[in-house]
Amino acid sequence: MLSKRIIPCLDIKDGRVVKGIRFNELRDAGDVVALAHRYYEEGADEIAMLDITATVENRRTVAALIKEAAKSVFVPILAGGGVRTLSDFEMLLEAGADKVSINTAAVREPKILSDAAKLFGSQSVVLACDTRRKADGGYTVLVEGGKTDTGLELFAWLKESIERGAGEILLTSWDLDGTQQGYDISLLKRVSERFPVPLIASGGAGTAEDIAAAFLEGKVDAALAASIFHFRKYTVKEVKQFLKNKGLEVRL
């Protein structure tokens, strides 16, 4: 049976791993290649490496770090952050990423999803989407690291992205990111049951219970988490053991 994936996420700025709360108040969380390797050894199923500054300079740094990490990390690497063009996409794949996530650029010019899917295959195109709950209970799509509200309705946008060729969705709840208060389970469940591609939960994991809930109740395929691993609340292995005890299929 296909196992549930745990994906530690490295947000990268100035060549270092950082982590904030709701995309702000960044704290240093360690060395990129060393952390990637540690998570690989602990049994991570994938490693996410995201450029959070979205500058050309940082993107090159991130590509170089991916290239270095890929020499000793033999699980898939998901890269992203600030990807604007097909050549950004290609640069990250060539550096050793297996998948690339696109966020703002896809909203600005959705054709990049279809072009990337055609060139590199849907399996390497991940739509990253930051979303915020509205007062009326709906969800809106944010871009530019959560700074800009596009006014797009989340479900309509996800539908379009998948039709254009996104092979996976990485959904981050802006309201909860970095808070360690748990994922937005009801939202995850609605998205997972509605759409025919794998869903990665992101934003808010504070405990192994939160991650178990994303799988058991939120019905997601993978869970991405940063804070709980960086600040050594749990090892990846401890989380996976917890999931196994809950009856979930995991690779240990």
Partner: protein, 192 residues
């Protein structure tokens, strides 16, 4: 020397993994080089039709078929396994190498592609029975002869690996399957 047939696509991960196994290998794109290789690997991230077209354009189909018929050990990874079959629902009208009877079919499942580590039931000594290997595929090999040596389940059983004389094919990506995957590569490189 193991020849990694570079038809295009992203092969950095496989090269990193082969480096780790210590096996001597080189990238190859020319018939004259393929002629000399002791083993061949065809890596696979991509589309069935695109791979066949690319091999055709580089005039590699005939030399590949010749070498495989001569008995050189061949390892096809993911789409490198799929092109061993006759054709694929992914690329109607395009013929595969047709070394194995069968056709690649699209998964009928709630979510496609299949992405992640799946546990494999294996009767091959190269693949750990019960081990987890990384899959990322929308299509699988529906083989029509007795060549399947490992299966996995994705809302139904499918062929995870096939072996036919000197031909080996794996639907998973050993280069992305952690230490279990590296072990498979090491064993294949030493096996024959």
């Amino acid at each position: 020397m193991i020849g990694v047939v570079h038809w295009g696509g992203n092969i950095g991960s496989l090269l990193n993994a082969l480096k780790r196994t210590g096996a001597p290998f080189s990238l190859t794109t020319k018939p004259s080089e393929i002629e000399k290789m002791k083993r061949l690997i065809l890596p696979g991230v991509g589309n069935f039709g695109a791979v066949m077209e690319s091999l055709k354009k580089q005039h590699l189909i005939e030399i590949l078929l010749n070498r495989i018929r001569e008995g050189v050990p061949y390892l096809g990874i993911c789409v490198g396994m799929q092109i061993l079959l006759e054709d694929s629902e992914e690329s109607p009208g395009i013929k595969g190498l047709s070394l194995v009877k069968g056709r690649c079919r699209r998964f009928i499942a709630k979510k496609v592609p299949q992405v992640g580590f799946n546990s494999v039931r294996s009767k091959s000594s190269l693949i750990e029975n019960g081990g987890f290997y990384y899959f990322i595929n929308s299509y699988y090999c529906d083989v029509k002869e007795e060549v399947s040596v490992a299966t996995a389940n994705y809302e139904g059983d499918f062929c995870a690996a096939l072996e036919k004389a000197n031909i080996f094919g794996v639907q998973f990506h050993p280069e992305k399957s952690g230490e279990t995957g590296l072990k498979f590569l090491r064993k294949w490189c030493d096996a024959l």
